[in-house]
Symmetry: C2
Subunit: 238 residues, 2 copies
Amino acid sequence: MSAYKKDVVMKLETVPRRKIRDEVAERIKEYIAAERLGLGDRLPTEGELAVRFGVSRLSVREATKALEFLGIVEAKTGVGLAVGQLDMARMADHLGFLPALQQAESQQLIDSRVIVETGVLARVAERMTQDPSIAESLQAIVEEFRTARTIQTWIDLDIRFHRTLLESSGLAPIVAFGDLLQVFFQRFRDSVKKAEWKAAIESHQFIIDRLQAGDVSAAASELREHIESHRQRIGAGR
Amino acid sequence: MSAYKKDVVMKLETVPRRKIRDEVAERIKEYIAAERLGLGDRLPTEGELAVRFGVSRLSVREATKALEFLGIVEAKTGVGLAVGQLDMARMADHLGFLPALQQAESQQLIDSRVIVETGVLARVAERMTQDPSIAESLQAIVEEFRTARTIQTWIDLDIRFHRTLLESSGLAPIVAFGDLLQVFFQRFRDSVKKAEWKAAIESHQFIIDRLQAGDVSAAASELREHIESHRQRIGAGR
DNA sequence: CTCGTCAGATTGTCAGATAATCTATTCGCC
DNA sequence: GGCGAATAGATTATCTGACAATCTGACGAG
């Protein structure tokens, strides 16, 4: 057989022979990175990639389909392959299978959000003093709140408010994590009464005011209470 | 040139009809969820899935290969398909293409870590008073630190310390986020001098002591300083 | 009882073919 | 000549069939 010395470099682990498609997928990712390709940039066709890598078109397909599933590449019939955009929403869709998040109790989600959102407040307050547009953005959302009439609008605005708050920290990783939590939060954001949303508006307003006044701890207290108000609605969970 | 993305604004049922493989992938995920399958549980064979879904085996393959790429399923030659473990490390491997993290400055990664890790301290301190094993676990790592001699060992122990700290909060989502940040942190954890590690040991010890004493703010200050000590080593970063 | 061998099952890979879809050129009509 | 429709080529989407590689389990020799 082919038990040659190539095995020497291998480790002792069960030696799961590297699959061709994984190799191809890696090469494609390297290609994208090396060529500094961005969203929408074209990639070689499946056939060309097959020839270039010296494998069948099927192996290339399995690799590109896997990458497409992740969102790294996009394939359009009759056009070709292009670089896609890997966004957190799509990722969260698959991440539903991540045990850490799947098994996470609702209470853990709430507590995690409290930690992250209150954690950025000091930073946000500081940036507010140098960039007036931060307070304006938040205030604009609250104003929209007052004129909104449907539940769905309220939910969307609430999501936007909290996301804008995280964005105001200027920390992209935190925003990404917030997006991720958001997906799992969705499930118990639906059952909400009108009266509660009225209180939420004033709660948001209060947070903005306190932040502008530099009173971080007061803002944090209010935000904590605001987020934890969801706690009461989570008894029937699955 | 490249391409207006008219598709972006469109809803689901527009021109691009749902691909079969995406449908199959969705069905497989539903199957796993419905049957409450966990790590290692067997799935029907490719052929059987093909018959059951009424599609060719190749379409099933493209779906399973995409799911395998994500880690949701595992395929072993000659054995069959099984449910896999979707872990954050594997995910982070692909997430290198996530703009939010790719573009994130090193400074943002550091600040994000500070927020998350200091954010859990109050919770950890409280849980410490009821569960002695928490302090023991952290203390054990520090003891290992004192006998460690290689750089790699130090790095591994440092990672373990911070991960254990997050785990002690009991918040699985936070731990997952920490793992994610860890991957991107790795790149400037290598260049470290011996003297700095000696200081790190005492820093870790100090944090444990302060937490046990219930002095959260002192622990937070030390932790912040400890993490931000990486800041000095990140000038050459790309 | 232990070990090797073998048959069956299952995934991995390939080749070829057809359908669907998009792009760009060409053709026809005015 | 200009403009829109028809057409041809390119590319992905899917299917069929086949063979190779590998694992599992049973069976039998010693």
